[in-house]
């Protein structure tokens, strides 16, 4: 009984570690600098993460209303990073809620 529980716990822990490693490996960096997203277009696989880093001296707020991949990264102060998982296949239009000149396309494959 104890062994079974231990084995299950270890397996779960390993799964969590593996998932974390997998997520880290599949994280795509996007910078927000000069009131622009860079790169302006990226491709990711379903379930992968995009890490939005604010490299500006102003606050940003990345968001998307594209169906299946709606998100709001909320107000991001300079220097902060916000990670977003893209869940559905398709072309995702990402904008900054504050800066209308900022536009990013994420192709989720």
């Amino acid at each position: 009984m104890f062994r079974t529980a231990l084995r299950t716990s270890l397996a779960l822990a390993a799964a969590v570690v593996a998932t974390t490693v997998w997520l880290q490996a599949a994280s795509h960096p996007v910078t927000q600098k000069g009131k622009l997203f860079a790169p302006g277009m990226i491709s990711v696989k379903v379930g992968e993460v995009v890490a939005f880093k604010n490299d500006d001296d102003v606050t940003h707020n990345a968001f998307s209303t594209s169906k299946g991949n709606e998100f709001n990264a909320k107000a991001q102060t300079p220097g902060s990073t916000s990670e977003v998982v893209f869940k559905a296949k398709g072309k995702v239009a990402v904008k900054c809620a504050f800066h209308p000149g900022m536009s990013l396309t994420v192709n989720v494959e």
């Binding site: 102003v58 707020n61 968001f63 809620a97 504050f98 800066h99 209308p100 000149g101």
Partner: protein, 361 residues
């Protein structure tokens, strides 16, 4: 909408002379860099040295962008000018675009809030249309992406010009001289809402603020603005952090922020209801001709430019969750406030008469 077509903006002899001045200034700086300690050359003014890191981003463009699908032609601009000044584009027949966007008032109306159909006061102040060829979002809340998309909004709005588009086209299309203007401007295209919007947008892209004292100083004319204004430019870019949003030669990045104006209007929040940070957010206005365009803010609630500086010095008036993170109490001294005001007044260009066209009858 791709913007690959350009029209040269006017470059007069004075601009040319000033451009030479910039070259001369650059040469002077270069020579000074190679000088020994005992140089007898004239010193670069301390205010320009302090301003140097910020100057480049404020240079005026030399061409005006037009979209590929609505390239500039003089005929389109002429048609747009007629439509802009024509009160028959309103339900009542007595409100034109120019009623609110009055060229004599830097393309605004000088009122706290606009007055629309039936003499009713609207909720927001009339924004200037200066320099919108470079705009990235239109209306106070940014609900239009292009000038073409913007142009028909106020015409149809019941509270503004109150004219439905079928009536507009029937009314304009019945005038022979308008038919001729449309045929020259958009050959092969009908008199339609789309061509009306494109013509008005073309005219508006030509509404560009003239050279101001600040521009002459930027180009090397040290006498164009006062030392106090020059110090104000540094405060603008550093301690007061105005340039975080009022950036570039238009003195706006078209960004949206809740700056703490008291009121119930959620602005951009009505378009992006699920995004808390843009509740009560409005578009950053240009500062060109600012001292001629009071009262201020989206609702005209701040009467003078002095009061605007005090407003920002306090970090806004309304304490809300959506208040911009970039807005902090500034702790400006009296001198710094005066310098900022002196600087902002250098952004006003001399008055320029604008011809009102003879309208088709």
């Amino acid at each position: 909408m791709p913007l690959t077509a350009f029209r040269s903006t006017q470059v007069g002899p004075r601009t040319f002379v000033l451009a030479l001045g910039v070259c001369a200034f650059g040469l002077t700086v270069a020579l000074r860099a190679n000088d020994g300690a005992g140089s007898s050359k004239a010193a670069v003014p301390a205010e320009r040295v302090a301003s140097q890191p910020f100057l480049a981003s404020y240079t005026r463009p030399t061409t005006t962008p037009f979209p590929d699908d609505n390239a500039y032609t003089p005929e389109r601009e002429a048609l747009g000018r007629a439509l802009f000044f024509d009160p028959r584009l309103s339900g009542s027949g007595w409100i034109s675009c120019a009623s609110c966007h009055n060229p004599g008032l830097s393309w605004g109306d000088g009122l706290p809030r606009a007055i629309g159909h039936g003499m009713k006061t609207l909720g927001r102040r009339t924004p200037t249309i200066l320099n919108l060829a470079w705009g990235q979002a239109f209306f106070w809340d940014g609900r239009a992406d292009t000038l073409e998309a913007q142009a028909l909004g106020p015409i149809q709005a019941a509270g503004e010009m109150n004219l439905d588009l079928p009536t507009m086209i029937a009314r304009i299309g019945a005038i022979d001289d308008y038919q001729a203007l449309f045929a020259k401007a958009y050959p092969g295209e009908p008199v339609a809402p789309e061509t009306v919007a494109k013509a008005i947008a073309t005219f508006e892209r030509g509404v560009i603020s003239a050279e101001a004292p600040f521009d002459r100083w930027l180009a090397g004319d040290e006498a164009a603005i006062s030392p106090e204004a020059k110090r104000g430019f540094v405060v603008f870019n550093t301690k007061a952090a105005c340039a975080k949003c009022h950036s570039g030669w238009r003195f706006t990045d078209d960004s949206f922020h809740d700056i703490g104006v008291v009121g119930e209007d959620v602005g951009r929040g009505a378009l992006l209801a699920d995004i808390p940070s843009v509740q009560h957010a409005f578009k950053t206005p240009t500062l060109r001709d600012a001292d001629r365009r009071g009262p201020y803010m989206h609702d005209g609630s701040v009467a003078t430019l002095d009061a605007v500086v005090d407003f920002y010095d306090r970090g806004g008036l309304a304490a809300r969750e959506s208040l911009s993170n970039d807005l902090k109490p500034l702790g400006l001294t009296g001198d710094e406030k005066r310098q900022l005001l002196a600087f902002m007044r250098t952004l006003t260009s001399p008055g320029r008469s604008v011809p009102v066209p003879a309208l088709p009858r």
